[in-house]
């Protein structure tokens, strides 16, 4: 019981910080403050680099913040992965607009 407890104590601050960053990112995104959202999502992704959801949100926020290179890298890293239909649609829209901008 001691090992899971120590593991929990060790992981809790970082996991909570990442969750707070994710929440702040979503709030900033809802307010249209995409550069703040990008900063917060980058923090969250730093903690959970394999999270498709966090990477997708980071890519979408980066796209709206005009950070196209960052958006492209985030979308490339989740290419082929599954996600909820809403987020897949958002990512596809952003990727299509990115392609148009590139042309």
């Amino acid at each position: 019981m001691l090992v899971p407890f120590v593991l929990g104590i060790a992981k809790f601050p970082a996991a909570l910080a990442a969750y707070i960053a994710l929440e702040r990112g979503q709030r900033a995104e809802a307010d249209g403050n995409f550069s703040v959202a990008l900063t917060e999502y980058t923090k969250a992704v730093g903690q959970f680099p394999n999270s498709t959801f966090a990477l997708a949100r980071k890519g979408i926020a980066a796209f709206h913040a005009g950070e196209y290179q960052v958006a492209e890298e985030a979308f490339d890293s989740i290419d082929g992965r599954e996600g909820s239909s809403d987020i897949v649609r958002e990512v596809k829209d952003a990727m299509e607009q990115l392609k148009k901008l590139r042309k």
């Binding site: 929990g8 992981k11 909570l16 969750y19 994710l22 929440e23 394999n50």
Partner: protein, 177 residues
């Protein structure tokens, strides 16, 4: 309503039973109350128990009785919260995370003091010589324990344990974000 016999629930969530009895034992040790026998887990009713001497003070009896609520809630929350953030917020989770969620929820699920604990407490405060102040504190606690036991029939302890594991981090985020 969905009914699962208590011994099956106890077996599926056995770490919680162990921690529950450990919490009673911990508070007995803390107050220097002699312990005669501890059963951390068994297939039966009750699934675990601690037999100890009668504490010198009523307050000690109260602390020993409610000890599992404190220990199981804290332990269950700390073990499961990081894993539940990973699984339910970031949608990434290894088998270790699912194991930790099960462990944390199992522990938190047994944080309600049992009706046995309530009966022991009730007999302690009903004894002659117990002050009115002690009775005023202890009777509501006994009442809440019995209510919790009734609520457990309606899965109150399961709801509470899931709350500790999942809702607690969300609550903290709402406060801090």
């Amino acid at each position: 309503m969905f009914f699962i016999p208590g011994p099956i629930i106890a077996a599926l969530t056995f770490p919680g039973v162990i921690v529950h009895e450990f919490a009673h034992q911990l508070f007995c040790r803390f107050f220097g109350v002699a312990i005669f026998h501890v059963c951390y887990f068994r297939f039966g009713n009750p699934a675990g128990y601690v037999i100890h001497e009668h504490p010198a003070k009523t307050s000690q009896q109260i602390w020993i009785g409610v000890g599992p609520f404190i220990v199981n809630s804290i332990l269950g929350g700390i073990i499961s919260a990081p894993a539940s953030i990973q699984v339910f917020q970031f949608y990434v989770g290894s088998s270790l995370d699912f194991f930790l969620i099960w462990l944390g929820v199992s522990i938190a699920m047994h944080d309600f003091p049992s009706t046995g604990d309530a009966k022991t407490l009730l007999s302690a405060i009903s004894a002659p010589g117990v002050s009115l102040a002690a009775k005023m504190v202890a009777y509501p606690i006994v009442g809440m324990i019995f209510l919790g036991a009734i609520g457990s029939v309606f899965w109150l302890n399961a709801v509470y344990s899931i709350g500790v594991a999942i809702a607690l981090p969300t609550f903290l985020v709402i406060l801090l974000a």
